[in-house]
């Protein structure tokens, strides 16, 4: 009897030790994840001279000076955070709305109706899901220059109407949650097809729309490649936040580390806040996207 108990105790003790070790590993990884961001915030509050002489893990007292320096020094003219946020918000907001709305529409059309090229259309969407942006960008830019659309937001916003990955996700979701008999019922009640989509399908797709909207927004907000490709003239009033950060880091004239750290911190602040609020959604969304089976 006591032998059995000992075995059991041994087993629990072993598990406890293992859990402890794994906890330590997790803490270590968390530190690796957070330390760069922590150092960023700390250094944003310190003066240039202090940063260069001594590393500190405690905040300094120069935050106000750095804020003033960023807004007054002509060297930082290209980094106008408010304009950057506004531009990024316009591009990401419009793109998110268009991509989510039209992807839902396409997925709904592919799921609800029976028509000749339905299978072929869906296969096509699956096939092009993997085609990377970089492959078409040479022809894309040349075409846009021909149309005179470079230095405009149109090539950044309108193409998002066609988002194959979101269509795929939405169709998967419809398949699992929307029964065709509801559509039939709406028809019998005399509801038009488009109205059925707006007032019945969209409300039922809300969870999927929320997840996809968050991801589309973050992706478009962080997008550096396309804006820096299309906005050839680099007009100050058109720059997005990632482009401003790139300009800031490429500028050899700027040597004030405190201000640079502050500018970088400012650029990621909205994302961090949004992430803290929405982390549950985001984690669940990644998990959903992972199950492709």
């Amino acid at each position: 009897m006591s032998n059995e108990k000992q075995v059991k105790d041994n087993y629990t003790a072993k598990l406890r030790v293992k859990s402890g070790i794994l906890f330590a590993v997790c803490v270590l990884l968390t530190v690796i994840c957070l330390l760069p961001i922590y150092m960023l915030i700390i250094n944003a509050t310190r003066a240039h001279v202090d940063i260069q002489t001594q590393v500190s893990f405690l905040p300094g007292s120069s935050l106000i000076d750095n804020i003033n320096e960023l807004s007054t020094n002509p060297n930082f003219k290209t980094f106008d955070a408010l304009t950057g946020f506004k531009n990024s918000l316009i591009i990401a907001g419009c793109s998110t709305f268009l991509s989510v709305f039209f992807s839902s529409l396409t997925a709904y059309g592919l799921y609800v109706y029976d028509f000749k090229i339905k299978g072929a259309a869906y296969t096509f969407i699956l096939a092009v899901m993997m085609v990377p942006m970089q492959v078409t960008s040479v022809g894309f830019l040349q075409f846009m220059i021909k149309l005179g659309l470079n230095d405009s937001y149109i090539p950044l916003i309108v193409p998002t109407i066609a988002a194959p990955a979101i269509v795929f996700f939405m169709r998967q979701y419809l398949q699992s949650s929307l029964s065709l008999s509801i559509i039939e019922a709406a028809r019998i009640d005399g509801c038009g097809e488009f109205r059925t989509f707006i007032s019945i399908a969209i409300p039922m797709m809300k969870p999927a729309i929320a997840v996809q909207a968050i991801f589309a927004f973050v992706a478009n907000w962080n997008n550096f490649y396309q804006p820096s490709m299309i906005l050839i003239s680099r007009k100050a009033e058109q720059l997005t936040i990632p482009m401003m950060i790139n300009a800031l880091k490429s500028n050899d004239k700027i040597a004030d580390y405190g201000v640079i750290y502050y500018a970088i911190a400012l650029s990621i602040l909205p994302l961090i806040i949004a992430y803290i609020c929405l982390s549950k959604f985001i984690i669940a969304g990644v998990a959903l996207g992972g199950v492709k089976e």
Partner: protein
């Protein structure tokens, strides 16, 4: 009367709405993706720089792949092209291997019901966080933290602790800079991979794990004999999507450079393409970048068709196979083989 009415009802067709609903997607896709792709093909058989209007056939491909056809310039461009291909491969492997190892280990631990790791939810949230931060800001931040000079935070710390005597060249050194890009990529993506693998593991049949536990299998045995084999499709999917993603790696390699000087040891294919068609404005090398894009496209098709094959509707494929087998059997029977399995 009734039958006529019934016939009438049956003939109401909603098919046209289907076309109407998917039309915007296909119009926009053709205009902004298909035509640019064709246009890239066209540009790849024309010249470079000031001679972009000159038709040169497969000259660009020849120059990129074999270094012939354009004199000394073609040897130089071939060298660069193979260098960037090699860089892309090295940086991708260097970030993928540790990333998948850590992600898989974490995913297995987090989904193991026996282990009681406190704060799992918190760890998941923190580990995913680097993935949502703007790549430009990440690159700028790491450039400052890992500066080449003794003023960089890491060099400064190491020098004070006496770990090193000379500052490490994190940005300009060959392997130091590659290592940094690998690290940043892995840092940004391991949380994402971990959550994807976790959802894969949680989708596996839990009774298999219970049975193994009852039979007294150790964690290592469960991992090797149950988790890993069942997880293989998801692992393969992760591998291939990561490979395609690796081919497009742009933001970090492009921006993790000092000033405007670009380090040739960390330049990836995507950066090479961008430099030739975008940074050479107003005399862009559409030919070279177009040809490189087409080569990238062909590699992507190869990799993508594997995922596509895996992603297809398995039930439909199985049914098709069954039907084929039944037809074959029928044919064999008709031939007079008495329905024996062949």
């Amino acid at each position: 009367m009734a039958s006529a009415a019934q016939r009438n009802i049956r003939s109401v067709s909603y098919a046209k709405y289907g076309y109407f609903f998917i039309l915007p997607f296909f119009l926009v896709y053709c205009f902004f993706q298909i035509w640019p792709l064709i246009n890239t093909f066209i540009l790849s058989v024309y010249g470079n720089g000031k001679a972009v209007d000159e038709f040169i056939g497969l000259g660009n491909f020849e120059a990129l792949l074999f270094g012939t056809g354009m004199g000394r310039a073609s040897t130089a461009i071939q060298e660069t092209f193979f260098q960037v291909l090699g860089n892309t491969l090295i940086v991708w492997i260097g970030n993928f291997v540790p990333q998948i190892a850590i992600s898989l280990a974490l995913a297995v631990w987090f989904t193991d019901a026996k282990l009681k790791i406190p704060g799992k939810g918190f760890f998941k949230v923190i580990m995913y966080m680097p993935n949502i931060i703007t790549a430009a800001s990440v690159a700028a931040l790491f450039l400052k933290l890992f500066d080449d000079s003794k003023y960089g935070v890491v060099n400064n710390l190491f020098l004070t602790w006496g770990v090193i005597d000379e500052p490490i060249k994190f940005i300009t050194g060959v392997w130091e800079s590659r290592g940094m890009i690998m690290f940043i990529q892995a840092w940004m993506w391991f949380g994402n991979t971990m959550i994807m693998l976790m959802s894969g593991i949680m989708g596996l049949n839990p009774s298999l794990f219970e049975a193994a536990n009852i039979d007294g299998a150790s964690s290592g045995q469960v991992f090797r004999k149950i988790t890993l084999p069942l997880l293989r499709p998801i692992m393969l999917y992760t591998l291939i999507t990561s490979m395609i993603g690796g081919l497009q790696m742009f933001d970090i390699p492009y921006m993790y450079t000092k000033g405007t000087q670009r380090n040739e040891y960390t330049k990836t294919v995507a950066v090479f393409i961008y430099e030739h068609f975008r940074e050479k404005m107003p005399n862009p090398n559409y030919g070279f970048s177009g040809a490189a894009s087409i080569i990238l496209f062909i590699i992507t098709i190869g990799l993508g068709s594997i995922t596509f094959y895996m992603n297809r509707d398995k039930d439909a494929a199985a049914r098709k196979k069954e039907r084929k087998a039944a037809a074959k059997k029928l044919k064999a029977q008709q031939k007079g083989l008495g329905g024996m399995e062949i």
